[in-house]
């Protein structure tokens, strides 16, 4: 019996590869296994190789694995492209329809199972993915009952007989494979899981759910990979809560519409990836100078321009921090797990309103689209804080022809905020430099007072933000400190025990607040380490540069990967080892 394994299904895009992975993993999730998925796909809908790699484990896991135990193939290309990942003794299960062939040098066990034929005999070739799920589940020692609730959920709309047929297809796949493989494969039987039902979701789901729980009720957005799931979830849910999603004509409209709604008192967000973020820059500055709360989600993907639109990258750091012209207070939050993405989404709205600033909530493609097991989220940790927003119907009367001091200079830099409609709250809002009432002013004294006021707002944020750095500090004095952000956390965590085995003392920090930079927090960590290395999915080492600059420490090194794929634990392990 084993504790964990890695399973991959591949074929042509549009051929049900997604649903094969989905059904397989949902069933395992409901048995209490922990899962971590990564989708490889292309920027086209039909055709082109796609695959879904899923890690299954009896304990929490947050990373893809180096190798592969089982490869389910719907075409020869899947075998040719992926067999090198298979560990010795691994298994390939291919549809007999394409007569799967063992590539040269491949030592895996190849089984040909008539997915399509069995499915056709049972009624429709569409069920071939069910047969495939069945065949590979037999290897894991699963029983068809494990699929009852999932199949019921997916197909009950189509009637009881469809549910029944699909379960039969799974069972037929299991039976066929068991006979075929009898005694000829190693141990793929998973130890029983704890049977607890956990959540299984992608980062984008968590952000959308966090936005909803965090009180967002309006989302203007323009579709883009890998952000669209956020708007797609919210368009389903928001109407039940009085709100809505508008698909705008572009990201400039999306961002400025969100600004308009926030100004008028509704928590509003937009979400995009690099190309959209680039278009929003001027508007982000508007949010900054007008002190209008705003939440933007940036799901990083391969850039620049259209770049690698469906691939993993973490190269928007500088764009997010420095992209806007002029100088504004701005917050950049980088959750590193799906669970964090949820709580950080809630927090993004609180911070945006408490400090009256734009907040960019950042993921990368692996975090946005990778499906992970999440422990049930805690409602008691969801709280809504609106800062100095005044929601009363009426304010004290103002002096004749004076405006409400929306931009009153205060010690903490944050001024009282009122929304349109409020009696005695009239004020002007402008992206032009303005005085306390919001009226345009070019006076040097006023400029300085307003600029200082705005920039003062976030000074304390790194101190009050919930764990600006996720820390795994095992050693008072470490040989190595590994730093990363977003989805690399699980992979780094997986590399650390290997490095420790090699005799190195390793600490780990995952930066969760990129801006304002948690300098003090990181300095304490960095000072304890002989060497510091930053692991990041980009070519120029943006987080490395940021860390060097903020900590004034020149010897910080980088491990970079920018070929479109996430790091493997072995890559981090090996490259860290090379530093010594």
């Amino acid at each position: 019996m084993i504790n964990q394994l890695s399973w991959k299904v591949g074929g042509q895009q549009g051929e049900g590869i997604e649903s094969t992975g989905e059904i397989f993993s949902m069933a395992l999730s409901r048995q209490g296994y922990y899962l971590y998925g990564y989708r490889h796909f292309s920027s086209r809908i039909k055709g082109g190789h796609t695959n879904n790699k899923i890690r299954v484990s009896t304990t929490a896991t947050n990373s893809i694995s180096d190798d592969l135990d089982i490869l389910v193939a719907f075409d020869q290309e899947t075998i040719d492209l992926n067999h090198h990942e298979l560990r010795p003794g691994g298994v390939i299960i291919g549809d007999s329809k394409f007569s799967p062939k063992q590539p040269e040098g491949c030592t895996a066990n190849l089984f040909s199972v008539p997915f399509t034929e069995i499915a056709t005999d049972l009624g429709t070739s569409l069920m071939k993915n069910m047969v495939a799920v069945g065949a590979s589940s037999a290897l894991l020692g699963l029983k068809v009952e494990a699929f009852n609730s999932v199949v019921e959920q997916i197909f009950s709309r189509k009637g009881a007989s469809v549910v029944e047929k699909n379960l039969q297809a799974i069972e037929a796949g299991m039976e066929y494979f068991k006979k075929e493989a009898e005694g000829s494969v190693g141990d793929f039987q998973l130890k029983e899981a704890d049977g607890k039902s956990r959540m299984f979701m992608i980062g984008n789901d968590a952000i959308a759910l966090g936005a909803l729980a965090g009180g967002a009720r309006f989302m203007p957005a323009y579709p883009i990979t890998p952000a669209s799931e956020i708007m797609e979830y919210l368009i389903k849910k928001l109407p039940e809560y009085g709100g809505t999603v508008i698909q705008t004509e572009d990201e400039i409209a999306a961002c400025t519409m969100a600004i308009g709604a926030n100004y008028a008192g509704v928590r509003s967000l937009t979400a995009s990836a690099g190309p959209g973020l680039s278009l929003m820059m001027e508007a982000i500055g508007l949010s900054g100078i007008t002190e209008t709360p705003l939440v933007i989600v940036d799901t990083q993907r391969g850039g620049p321009s259209t770049g690698l639109p469906t691939k993993q990258e973490q190269s928007d750091i500088f764009a997010m921090i420095y992209g806007t012209h002029g100088e504004i207070p701005k917050v950049v939050i980088t959750p590193s797990t799906v669970e964090e993405a949820f709580y950080d989404a809630v927090e993004a709205f609180n911070i945006a309103e408490e400090y009256q600033v734009p907040v960019i909530l950042v993921t990368d493609l692996a975090l946005s689209l990778g499906k992970q097991t999440v422990e049930p989220l805690d409602f008691s940790k969801v709280n809504i804080r609106r800062g100095k927003l005044n929601l009363e119907e009426e304010l004290p009367e103002l002096e004749k022809s004076a405006y409400f001091k929306r931009y009153e200079v205060t010690d903490d830099g944050v001024s009282k905020r009122v929304i349109p409609g409020m009696k005695n709250g009239i004020h002007h809002v402008t992206g032009v430099e303005h005085n306390e009432q919001g009226k345009p002013s070019e006076s040097p004294e006023n400029r300085k007072a307003q600029m200082d006021k705005r920039l003062r707002k976030l000074q304390e944020l790194p101190k009050v933000f919930p764990s600006p750095v996720y820390k795994d500090e095992r050693h008072e004095e470490a040989d190595l400190l590994i730093l990363g952000f977003n989805s690399t956390r699980g992979t780094i965590q997986e590399a650390i025990p290997r490095l420790e085995k090699d005799g190195l003392k390793v600490n780990h920090g995952q930066v969760r607040l990129l801006h304002p930079f948690p300098t003090d927090e990181l300095k304490a960590m960095v000072d304890k380490a002989k060497k510091v290395v930053v692991v990041e999915n980009n070519a120029t080492g943006q987080l490395t540069q940021l860390t060097k600059m903020n900590l004034s420490r020149g010897d910080i090194q980088s491990i970079l990967k920018y070929d479109g794929n996430p790091f493997l634990p072995s890559e981090i392990h090996n490259q860290c080892k090379e530093l010594f």
């Binding site: 809505t244 705008t248 004509e249 100004y263 002007h428």
Partner: protein, 288 residues
């Protein structure tokens, strides 16, 4: 009841003496009073340009945004609080060049915003370059040899894009302009009002006298029916777009807000945003 004076503030506009925008400001103030709202119920959102300054010159909630983006900001405000009267405003460069995409899509979307364009056929704030409304041959700083691009027929474009309210006016005619703005505010859905608002400093062709000579009031055209879309189109073509009055209105066209599933009469901004434990738990089970 508020009067137009209640919509005045103490800010002195920095427009050139004689600029057409003064009358647009006055017309908005009068129309707001005439439709029976009080200053805090009005939000004026404006773009960047000489004209964009208008939101600062009206005693109401005002949002002076970025160049070309008054419309999406205004739509966000309206979606957040549908009790507000929302006016978007700006220049012809703002709305028909950099912001043209938003103009067309605001028409399609049909959120209840009244959009007032101060059309001076030139860029005022940047000191006299060509605009999408400048006629062929028009000489400006950026077209010293005369414009070689044709002027955009925005009223025709709006009607063909499906606009439910299309009107045009002239800033000298305060009475008609005020009435048109009132009608625009009362129209349930997006309304586009293009106002010929001369730039006395940089446009020496399209002057007050020029407009007086060249504009035809629709009220003088016998049998003109603003609910007749093809007549509206034909008339615009016949007069090369130089008409004033309510050009086209479709009173039946449903506004965006009225079509949004579950969208309540109570403004979104006033609704409770906290979930309860039961709602939250239900949301979680969908991922189990």
């Amino acid at each position: 009841m508020a009067t137009f004076k209640d919509f005045r503030n103490n800010v002195k506009p920095n427009w050139c003496p004689g600029c057409g925008d003064f009358s647009v400001q006055a017309a908005i103030q009068r129309a707001a009073a005439n439709v029976g709202i009080v200053p805090e119920e009005l939000a004026v959102v404006s773009g960047i340009g000489c004209s964009g300054r208008i939101s600062g010159y009206i005693n109401s909630y005002g949002f002076h945004g970025i160049h070309g983006r008054a419309l999406p900001i205004a739509q966000g405000v309206k979606m957040a609080n549908r009790d507000l009267t929302v006016i978007a405003s700006g220049g012809d460069g703002d709305g028909f060049a950099i912001g043209m995409g938003h103009t067309i899509h605001s028409i399609r979307r049909n959120i209840d915003v009244t959009y007032i364009v101060m059309d001076n056929q030139i860029y005022g704030l940047t000191k006299g370059q060509t605009s999408p409304r400048s006629e062929m041959g028009f000489k400006t700083k950026s077209t010293p040899a005369g414009s070689i691009e044709s002027a955009l027929g925005v009223m025709e474009l709006a009607i063909s894009a499906g606009a439910g309210f299309v009107a045009q006016s002239f800033s000298s005619d305060l009475k008609e302009l005020t009435s048109i703005i009132e009608q625009g505010i009362n129209h349930k859905g997006f309304s586009l009002i293009n106002v010929f608002s001369p730039c006395v400093t940089f446009n020496k062709i399209n002057t007050y006298d020029w407009f007086k000579e060249n504009l035809t009031s629709l009220s003088t055209i016998e049998g003109y029916d603003p609910s007749n879309r093809s007549q509206a189109m034909n008339t615009l073509m016949e007069y090369n777009g130089l008409v004033t009055g309510l050009i086209y209105q479709d009173k039946e066209k449903p506004s965006y807000e009225s079509l949004v599933k579950g969208f309540k009469e109570e403004p979104l901004a006033k609704q409770d945003i906290a979930l309860d434990q039961g709602q939250f738990d239900k949301l979680l089970t969908e991922f189990m």
